[in-house]
């Protein structure tokens, strides 16, 4: 299953093994793990709650993967995103892209993260010493996603 939203943790080795199973034509496995930091926007963060929009989330992630498949020759790609309560150093999201060539796998991995950051309905709420707060979206994420609209392939 190329898209999963789950409360539990994931293991990158097991995910890559399952994705590659039965394939001898893969030359490049690019992957990205987003991890919870204990610091954000100038203050300590002790806990993170990830909310999502069930139903839309899976559809949005699948659309992002479909678009990646349209842009690069990928043998497969995967997104696993966790929801619920998380602690510093916990894994939040995993993206894996398989291709014959490294340029395409790496570009697809960056693209999927950029689009996920601006199009997939997840929201983070942080607990800090000063109380809880919703994480604000970053303009730099919109810019990163915008890079791909010109059709260039960095």
């Amino acid at each position: 299953m190329p898209v999963r939203v789950q409360e539990g943790d994931f293991d990158i080795s097991a995910e890559i093994r399952a994705l590659r199973a039965g394939r001898n034509d893969v030359g490049a496995v690019a992957s990205f793990i987003g991890v919870m930091r204990d610091f954000n926007e100038g203050s300590g963060v002790t806990e993170l709650t990830l909310e999502h929009y069930p139903g839309m989330t899976e559809k949005a992630l699948q659309q992002i993967l479909d678009e990646a498949h349209g842009r690069w020759r990928l043998q497969d790609a995967l997104v696993v995103h966790r929801v619920g309560c998380m602690r510093p150093a916990d894994q939040i999201v995993l993206v894996v892209a398989l291709s014959a060539h490294r340029e395409e796998a790496l570009a697809a991995c960056a693209f999927i993260m950029d689009y996920l950051k601006t199009r997939a309905p997840f929201w983070k709420k942080e607990r800090t010493p000063a109380g809880e707060r919703w994480v604000a979206s970053r303009a730099s994420d919109d810019e990163a996603a915008g890079r791909w609209l010109g059709g260039e392939k960095p």
């Binding site: 909310e51 929009y53 839309m56 995103h81 997939a120 997840f122 929201w123 919703w134 994480v135 979206s137």
Partner: protein
Amino acid sequence: MATVQLLYFARLREVLGIERERVVLPEGVATAGELRAWLATRGGAWTTELDTKRQVRIAVNHDLADAAQPLSDGDEVALFPPVTGG
């Protein structure tokens, strides 16, 4: 007359104090943008949060929509802040 299901997420859900509601669209409210403007007339937090200067995303039937997106009877319409996953 179109009836739509409204969903609110994250900060918007908390500040408005509502998770979901079913509304009958009045005359002149036929697009996502018109729906937002109409909800903003409710006053209080509704007016503040749904002001056109605030960043609010709207999804219609699980797809991100722009203000011009027409609404139909039975649509699921979600309003939420810019996403912050990943």
